[in-house]
């Protein structure tokens, strides 16, 4: 991509990779947490709810710093993980983790809303027909919340594409390694004469966002039609 330049192009590819893995890996966790928040009554529910929403309220830089403390190679989680060969700090995986954490509350909210819209009595009916709780969930609730899961995925993907503060704090801004699209735009704007490259990246960013939005609209309409039997 000579039009963009190799540095900018690798930032676009990295952002797509980071957003893809961040939203995909957090999906099962988000479904579980959303289901627990929507359906179960347990001690510490409000604490869990607060924890999930914390990244939405905290300044992103603070979240990034907390991730660095926790998941850095010296951190209480990052240290043991390093022993088994998993490193987050200053790697693209760290960018994905930061994006996932930042996008998580949005994803959980979307999925929780769709779970709350499904009649819990349907799972009771499934149980009387011989379905264990897990199979009842997998065959009844899960298909019915597919539109909500898709909405959550798209929201998380969009958030992950645009994540800047936590990412730059946690994994820095290393071109070709951890430099995502927003950090590349930021970097271009820091050097004289970088405006043209930044503008091109902005155009790419707009194009990707529009495409994702259109795709999700189409998919969600299809899934909603299928669920409603149209």
């Amino acid at each position: 991509m000579s039009w963009l330049g190799p540095e900018a192009w690798s930032a676009v590819l990295l952002s797509l990779k980071v957003a893809f893995w961040a939203s995909l890996c957090s999906l099962p966790v988000a479904v579980f947490v959303a289901y627990a928040l929507a359906r179960w009554r347990f001690a510490g529910k409000s604490v869990l709810n607060g924890l999930v929403h914390l990244p939405l309220i905290l300044p992103p830089v603070v979240t990034g710093y907390l991730l660095l403390l926790g998941f850095g190679t010296q951190g209480p989680i990052g240290g043991p993980l390093k022993e088994i060969g998993i490193v987050f700090a200053f790697r693209w995986t760290g960018a994905a983790l930061a994006a996932a954490v930042m996008a998580f509350p949005l994803m959980v909210r979307a999925i929780r809303l769709s779970i709350e819209a499904v009649d819990p009595k349907l799972e009771e009916a499934a149980a009387t027909l011989g379905a264990s709780r897990l199979r009842g969930f997998a065959t009844i609730t899960l298909p019915l919340i597919l539109p909500g899961m898709l909405a959550g995925l798209i929201l998380a993907f969009a958030k992950a594409m645009g994540e800047f503060g936590a990412t730059i704090t946690f994994v820095s801004n290393i071109p070709g390694k951890t430099q995502t699209l927003p950090s590349a735009v930021y970097a271009f704007l820091q050097v004289p004469g970088g405006e043209a490259a930044a503008t091109r990246l902005v155009l790419v960013s707009i194009a990707i966002s529009m495409l994702a939005l259109l795709l999700s609209e189409m998919l969600s309409r299809r899934i909603a039609d299928w669920v409603a039997g149209r």
Binding site: T128, A131, P143, G229
Partner: protein, 375 residues
């Protein structure tokens, strides 16, 4: 096969305390809303975990709090028909019907193999009996209320339950749809060899379907027995709700008249009711509401009411308000009459008196007339 239930459960300041046995056939759990009927069948299905109790179906213990037994709902093999149908909206009618067989792994037996063809006998039978063959490809959102409920019945039957639980399956339907579904339950009553626990608050529905009735009030059983004896028990009727009292009479359709009336032969004598398209020779049961029965000391003449039955007063039960319930015997049948205390005093009715029960044919609703395998 029978069902044994012994429950003790507290919910806030409501206490459920029930102990009964349901043989095969329809046992109606009868009572007003809030009497604990639904809690009982939820406990049988395992959807409610009672504080204490024991539940067994056909000798298999589903719950025994003393022995620490709690079979989870999906292993109980109860066919549950919910008030609102609760069909799965994203599955077709066929998939809804087969869901239970799929979950229980029965679809493996149903599949065709080298040595036998596909096992569709039960599926075909149920679909034919409920008249839902034309609906199989549809989604529940495109079904009418009555159709949904028929599919819900089929779905429960197809998992080959040990017991069928019906939680006010007709309550959400209008009168015409109720008439559409009732005959299926009558058919189940005579065909199914399993106990059917049927929750309802309508005396007419209970009288039409029940072999056996368990009456609940504020979580406690206030009376139980065979349907015929239950509904002609004036003391019980007064306790439940005298306005709804009405005894069951059984007979045989003798003749269908061209003017829309059917003649019924019973031990109480011949009488005329609206024709409900039941063939002559069929055994029927019908419910005569106590408030539709007039009493006379002499045989009335030149009167529009078509049915005048000779009867003897068995007992007189004064109510709390201005009314009283009079139990009559006509032939082998018991009839309840609800009259004012003033009329009772004017006629000076007491046990052993002969009198005439006057019943207007039109006061017997077609809904109150059903096929019977009573007693």
């Amino acid at each position: 096969m029978s069902l044994q239930v012994d429950l003790h459960h507290r919910m806030g300041d409501f206490t459920l305390e029930t102990r009964f046995e349901a043989p095969s056939g329809i046992t109606v759990l009868f009572g007003h809303s809030g009497s604990g009927k639904t809690s009982v069948i939820q406990a049988v299905a395992g959807l409610l975990r009672p504080d204490e109790g024991r539940i067994a179906v056909a000798g298999q213990v589903l719950l025994d709090t003393q022995a620490g037994v709690f079979v989870p709902p999906h292993r109980r093999r109860t066919g549950y028909i919910f008030q609102e149908g609760r069909l799965f909206p994203h599955l077709s009618v066929r998939q809804n019907l087969l869901y239970g067989r799929w979950m229980q792994g029965r679809w493996r037996q149903d599949r065709p193999s080298q040595d036998r063809p596909a096992n569709t006998a039960l599926f075909d039978h149920v679909v034919e009996m409920l008249g839902i063959a034309s609906l199989l490809g549809r989604r529940p959102s495109l079904l009418s209320g009555g159709e949904k409920q028929r599919v819900a019945i089929g779905r429960a039957l197809l998992c080959e339950p040990q017991i069928l639980l019906a939680d006010e399956p007709l309550a959400a339907l209008d009168e015409a749809r109720k008439q559409e579904i009732l005959p299926y339950f009558e058919r189940l009553r005579s065909e199914a060899a399993i106990p059917i626990l049927y929750v309802c608050h309508s005396a007419a529905e209970a009288a039409r379907l029940a072999n056996h009735v368990v009456a609940l009030k504020q979580g406690r059983i206030i009376g139980q027995g065979a349907a015929g004896a239950f509904f002609s028990d004036a003391a019980l009727a007064a306790n439940l709700s005298p306005m709804e009292a009405g005894a069951i009479i059984s007979g045989v359709v003798a003749q269908r008249h061209p003017d829309g009336l059917a003649e019924v032969a019973s031990s109480a004598g011949r009488f005329l009711i609206p024709d409900n398209a039941i063939a002559p020779g069929s055994a029927i049961r019908l419910r005569i509401e106590a408030q539709d029965v007039m009493l006379a000391l002499h045989r009335p003449e030149a009167i529009s009411a078509l049915n005048v039955l000779e009867a003897v007063v068995v007992s007189v039960q004064p109510g709390r308000g201005p009314g009283m319930l009079v139990t009559l015997r006509a032939g082998q049948e018991q009839i309840l009459a609800r009259i004012t205390k003033r009329s009772g005093a004017a006629l000076d009715l007491k046990a052993g008196d002969a009198c005439y029960a006057v019943i207007k044919s039109v006061s017997v609703a077609p809904a109150a007339i059903g096929r019977s395998v009573l007693r």
